[in-house]
């Protein structure tokens, strides 16, 4: 089956998912991101790679943080950035997703950064662009349902590479609500493609997707066992609406069983790093002593996120 992210020459035309991307494509993005890191340290934080291009932030689901980092990344590449709060405008008036896209294409959009509550929505847009002969317009998935959040996955890989250099000897634990997490799925695919030695999925069965082991992970229902001797611990956010109900009895019991405390973290390797895609729920999935502790690299993730998003947009635009 043709991978809709790649063009006829096997080059990245859209970034929709990490699933199916070869290692060299990922490495190229990470290397490019490295070269952008220093741009953020300059007095004039801009390079002209996307000058004259229009990037549309198309957020069908609210997200201030991710939208802002994409906006900063696009502006540092000198693009014109248009933020559309679609959650509250056109679609609320009954316009379909693809009608919205057609309208923006007519306004000469060069790139869409799409966040949508439904898994696969960016694929629908990319396929529509192909069918209407507008393959020159690029799509970046900024999170679709539970499916994928590829730039988050890439910035997580960038962070791991920054601190651990090489993937081949790493044991990585992903902890928490994997069932609903697009970040977890993107991380699992990225770690697989980059050759991590072992990827673990840690959480209660109510929060683990069916047949998750078929994605190449080892499943641990017990946090202590899952964390033992890990090099990297990726904590996932537990959404408020999942805390009290049929998935979990309470936030308190969840923290007791799956919250990352200094005592639990001590079971990991001494130099293990702790990551979190944010926003954190302190005292639910992570103890403040860990979140603010020396092993946490959570704020580095945010900084690297901008460089990674610059790299993705720059590569898609053909640089």
């Amino acid at each position: 089956m043709h991978n809709p992210q790649l063009n006829a020459h096997g080059e990245l035309n859209h970034l929709l998912s990490i699933d199916g991307l070869p290692r060299d494509v990922l490495t190229h993005i990470l290397d490019t991101a490295s070269s952008f890191l220093e741009v953020s340290d300059r007095d004039v934080k801009k390079v002209p790679l996307l000058r004259g291009k229009s990037v549309f932030n198309l957020f069908f689901e609210n997200s201030t943080r991710t939208r802002t980092t994409f906006e900063i990344a696009a502006k540092r590449l000198s693009a014109d950035v248009i933020n559309l709060d679609v959650a509250r405008s056109s679609t609320a008036k009954g316009e379909t997703l693809l009608d919205t896209v057609d309208n923006l294409v007519s306004m000469h959009a060069d790139m869409f950064v799409v966040r949508h509550a439904s898994s696969g929505a960016p694929y629908l847009i990319a396929e529509h662009l192909r069918r209407t002969g507008r393959d020159d317009v690029h799509v970046v998935n900024a999170g679709d349902g539970r499916h994928a959040h590829p730039t988050q996955g890439l910035l997580d890989m960038f962070t791991i590479r920054h601190f651990k250099k090489d993937f081949s000897n790493l044991t990585v634990a992903i902890v928490g609500d994997i069932l609903h997490s697009r970040v977890a799925r993107s991380d699992i695919h990225a770690l697989g493609a980059l050759g991590a030695a072992e990827v673990r999925a840690v959480g209660p069965q109510t929060l683990l997707p069916t047949a998750i082991e078929r994605m190449g992970v080892r499943v641990f229902k017990d946090l202590r066992e899952g964390i033992r001797d890990c090099d990297v611990v990726i904590m996932l956010r537990l959404q408020n609406e999942r805390m009290n109900g049929a998935l979990l009895p309470s936030a308190g019991e969840y923290f007791k069983c799956y919250g990352l405390t200094p005592e639990v973290l001590a079971l990991a390797k001494e130099d293990a790093i702790v990551m979190h895609p944010g926003p954190m729920n302190r005292g639910v999935e992570i103890d403040s002593a860990v979140a603010d502790g020396p092993q946490a690299v959570i704020l580095s993730q945010v900084t690297f996120g901008i460089a990674v998003r610059m790299a993705v947009m720059s590569i898609l635009a053909g640089n």
Partner: protein
Amino acid sequence: MQAQNIHIRNGRLVDPKSGIDRQVDVFVADGLVQAIGTAPNGFVADRVIDAAGRVVCPGFVDLSARLSSLDSELVAAVAGGVTALACPPDTHPPLDEPELVERLVRRSEAIGLAHVYPIGALTQQLAGEKLSEMVGLSRAGCIAFSQATKPIFDTQVLLRAMQYAANFGYAIRLQPQDHYLARDGVAHDGEVASRLGLSGIPVCAETLAISTALHLAEETGVRLHLSKLSSAAGVALVREARNSGVKVSCDVAIHHLHLSETDIGYFDSHARFDPPLRTSSDREALRAAVAEGLAVVCSDHTPVDEDGKQLPFGEALPGAVGLELLLPLVLKWADEARVPLLLALARVTCDPAAVLGIEAGSVSVGRPADICIFDAQEPWCVSPETLRSQGKNTPCIGWEMTGRVCATLVSGRVVYER
């Protein structure tokens, strides 16, 4: 259109009910099959159809076809060789009042293409709460009662519905799916859904509902038909119940014999079905159930316009058109599974007719001449232009098919010809 005297010459008659599979002529007059083999005395043909190299068989009987527009979909039916079809009650408004059923019957008779057999709503508004007026609906033309895809939450209502139906000898059809377990689900709960981040419908949603239905059917003695099985475990339950003497029949939708969860690919909404496509081993079990005669095959014809499909997978409407693809897809299955034509055609002719309890699905002397003539070798490629249905929604666009309907007779009239 006046009924003609028609001589169907040199065709290979395949009639599963009688077991005939040989080259023989068929003579039609006054809407009925008058003779097979030798012309009746004094028969003068108004028309001779040369069926040399072609198969002559009973028109297909389809257990489930949604008719978005009666005019277009009945044309699609006869173009697909379907001469009798049952229409589920989830129309707008649902078929829960005798007047609606009478109107449907009247209009379809006036159109004069495929025979339409309405299935009445089991409960008012299909809401699963109050029983519908089954006697009135039956008199208006309903041949069975069903909830289509709508749930009955309260098991006591289901029990009462079955008791009431059993009291009058009516058949009940259920699409077995536990509403709570299937809630929000859009795909089979397995590897593909997990990878794509789609909410899953577990197999136990089907098996649990089958178990409930079978227990209640045994309790009430109602004639139960389970529609659109999707899993190996579901098939196994029905087989076991049948072996222990429960009166139950079941069907499988034609797409489930060919597709599996992997056909979702990159979120292809044309692979969204209700019930969902499951694993390839489930598909094999469904094929086996059809081959052994446990299950019959229906088209589950469901036209959906482009707006209903051009949406993210989970928001898109489920279903595909099937009336015009029923024959080639049955032939494709028969070919791949090495099932003889006679047996394969039984699953879309006399077997579903028996489920419906109607006199159809057979070419026999004295019976209405509902006949399909097809070329079993003709290759063709499915494209939107080849479909007469209003719906062009099918995962089979671009498929190379073998076997195509050449002509269809309903009550002795040629209603389709190519």
